[in-house]
Amino acid sequence: MSSRTASEGDLAVGEVRTGFLSHSRALSLEAALILLELVPGEQVRSASRPRAYAVSPEPLTGIDCVLPSLNGRRTRAVGTVASRVTLTGGRILQACSYAEIVRAGSGNRQAWSHYLSHPGVVETLGKLNAEDAAAGFAESERGSRGIEVGIIAEQQMNGVQNSPMLDGVLPVRARRGSWRWAFQRPEKGGGELFRFKILGDGTRLLRLALPDHGLDDVIDLVEDLALHDWLLSTVEEILERAQLGSGPPAKMLPLVRPVIDHVLHHWMPAARVKPELMPLWATLDRAQGFTRQWDLSVHRVRDQLALNTVTMLSAASDGYRADADEPALRRA
C-alpha cells in the first residue's frame, strides 16, 4: 500500500470485520503468507514481533454509486474500494475495506483505467460535502451508507475463511466484530474530532478528524482498536455463557478454557499503532474502559480457576485423608 500524505484526500471511509480464523489450530506465519496472497504474485507483508502478524496485498472493487450522506444528498462517485486482510497471532482474522473520497477534476466519468491508476480512491462527479458524507457513514443510523464498504470487507473475509487451507473449525464461538469509520483531515482552523458510538446491533461507529496523519496509520489504529474491542466482547460473551460464579464449576471449566487457550494472550494494546496516535487509543480506553474491563474479566477468570483449583484440591485431599485413614482402620 502506498503511503498517503495529508494533502491527498479530504475524507476516507472504511469498515473492519474481526473474527477467529476458522481453523482449529493457530496458523504459522509461513502458512499465513500463502493464505493471504489475495493478489497472486504480490507479496504478503509480515512481522513476527511483538506478535505474529501478516497483511495481505490489496484487491480492488469497482464502484459507481452515490456517496454516503446524512442529509439525503445524492452525489455520484466512481472509483475503487481497496481491501486488506490481516492475521494476528495466527488466530485473529481482520478484513478492512476502505476508500479515500476526493473531488474529481471533471463532472463526467473517466475511462476505467484512470480510476485503476489511483487504487483505493473514489472520485465524486459533483461537489463533495465531506462533513455530510462522514456523518452519514459513521455517525448515525439514519444516514445512508451509499458505498457498501462493509459488504466488500465481509466478502474478502469469507473468501479467506473458505480457503481449502483451513479446516473450517472455529476454536470457539464468537460474534464477528464490526466497525465502521470515517476519517477527515480538518480544514485550516477546523477542529479535531473523535466520536465513538455503539449501535443497537453491536456495530461500532467511529468518526475521526485529525490533521497530519497518513491514512495507513489511521487504518492501523482502527484495526487495533477493533481487534481489542472484539477480544473484550468475546471474553465477555464466553464468560456469560459459562455463567461465571453462578453455574456449576464442572460446566464452567470447559466453557472458560478457550478464553485461556485462544484469547488472553492476544491482548497487546496499540502494538501496531504509530506513537503519535497512541493518545487516541488512551482516550478511547479512558472513555470506554477497555483495559479496566479486560483486567476485571481476566481477574474473574483467574479467581474462578483458583477457586476451582482450591475446591478440587480440597476434594482430592479429603479423598487422600480417607485413603490414609484406611490402613489404620484396617489395623484396628
Binding site: 507483508r45 464502484i63 459507481d64 485503476l116 466488500i152
Partner: protein, 313 residues
C-alpha cells in the same frame, strides 16, 4: 529532562520489487500468424511494409533508448521450429534494414520459467462497474469474458420469456455506447485453460512495459541464446536478446505497428489493459524512475501503449 525520541518500526516493511532497466520506447515490428510464416517472401514483404514506420519512429526518438521486438505466434500452432524460423526472420528483417533486438514467443505470456504471466494478469483484472454498483454484488463469476458494458448478454431464455429487448449500455458512456465483450480464455476438451489471443497480447504489452512481478521479481530477463536454435520452442526462454548492443527490452512506453486486420484484437487488448490494476509498489517505482530521467509518463497505463495500423501505406 526531555524524553528521548523513540523510533520504532511498527508496521512491517513495504514489499520490495525488482527495478528493471528501461528503454524510452519499445517498438513491436508487426505481427504474423504462424501460417504467414511459412513463406520467406511473405516475411520479407512484411518487414518492407513496416520499414517506413520504424524509420519514422527511430528518427523521432533519435538520441533516446529504443528497442525493437518481434513476437512469434507459436501458442496456437507450431508449424515451424525455432531452428528454421529464427535465422529466416533475422535475415528477412536485415534485408530491409531492420534490426530485431528481442524475439519473444507467445507461449511465454502463458508460461515463463514456472510462472504464468497470464494468470498473474488475470488476478489483477478489476472489471469496471456499471452505474449503481455499490459493492453489494458478489464478485463477478469467472466466465472468461470481460465487458465494458451492462446488459450485453441477454440469454435466449430471457428472449423467449418475452422480456422486452433493452440495449446494452457502455459503463460511463457520455451519450452513445461502444460495447465490447471480450473472451479472455476458454477450456477446450483437454480441460487446460487456453488463453485468447487478445488476452495474451495484453499480457505481452504489460511485459514490455515491465509492470509485472512475481513475488517482487521481474518475470523475464532476456539473455542472448548461445549455440544453434533448438527444434522446440519450449526449449527457448520467453524472450531472447538477438543484438548484443540492444537497448533494454523493458520500456516506459510501447509502440506496436500492425496490419489493419489486427485492429479488433488490439481494441480488445486496450480494453483489457484498462481493467488491469498494477501493483501499486511497481507503479510508484516506475513513476520514480521516469521522474529521475525526466521522462513524461501518464499514470494511466493504456496511454503508455500506442498503435499504428497500416497495410503498407
Amino acid at each position: 529532562m526531555s524524553s528521548p525520541e523513540i523510533e520504532v518500526e511498527v508496521v512491517t516493511a513495504r514489499p520490495r520489487v525488482e527495478l528493471v532497466p528501461r528503454s524510452h520506447l519499445s517498438i513491436e515490428l508487426g505481427h504474423l500468424y504462424m501460417e504467414d510464416l511459412l513463406h520467406p517472401e511473405r516475411i520479407r514483404e512484411h518487414f518492407a511494409k513496416i520499414k517506413p514506420w520504424t524509420d519514422f519512429l527511430l528518427t523521432r526518438h533519435a538520441g533516446q533508448r529504443v528497442s525493437t521486438c518481434f513476437l512469434v505466434d507459436e501458442y496456437f500452432s507450431k508449424i515451424r521450429s525455432p531452428a528454421e524460423l529464427i535465422p529466416e526472420l533475422i535475415e528477412a528483417a536485415s534485408a530491409e534494414g531492420i534490426v530485431i533486438d528481442y524475439l519473444a514467443r507467445e507461449s511465454g505470456c502463458a508460461e515463463a520459467g514456472g510462472v504464468s504471466p497470464a494468470s498473474l494478469v488475470m488476478a489483477r483484472v478489476v472489471p469496471d462497474p456499471p452505474q449503481g454498483a455499490n459493492g453489494s454484488r458478489p464478485p463477478a463469476h469467472e466466465t472468461g469474458w470481460l465487458t465494458n458494458a451492462e446488459g450485453m448478454r441477454t440469454s435466449l431464455n430471457q428472449a423467449m420469456a418475452g422480456r422486452r429487448w433493452a440495449p446494452p449500455k457502455e459503463n460511463g458512456a457520455l451519450a452513445h455506447s461502444v460495447c465490447l465483450d471480450v473472451q479472455l480464455w476458454d477450456n477446450p476438451l483437454d480441460g487446460e485453460r487456453r488463453w485468447s489471443c487478445a488476452f495474451l497480447s495484453a499480457v505481452w504489452q504489460l511485459l514490455r512495459l515491465g509492470l509485472l512481478r512475481h513475488q517482487g521479481k521481474a518475470i523475464v530477463t532476456p539473455d542472448q541464446w548461445k549455440g544453434p536454435y533448438p527444434d522446440a520452442w519450449s526449449e527457448l526462454p520467453a524472450v531472447i536478446k538477438l543484438g548484443e548492443r540492444a537497448q533494454p527490452f523493458y520500456a516506459f512506453r510501447t509502440m506496436t505497428v500492425l496490419e489493419t486486420r489486427f485492429s479488433d484484437v488490439e481494441a480488445a487488448v486496450r480494453m483489457i489493459l484498462g481493467r488491469v490494476a498494477i501493483d501499486p509498489v511497481v507503479a510508484a517505482q516506475v513513476r520514480q524512475q521516469a521522474a529521475a530521467q525526466n521522462v513524461e509518463l501518464p499514470d494511466d497505463i493504456v496511454r503508455r501503449v500506442s498503435h499504428v495500423f497500416s497495410d503498407g501505406i
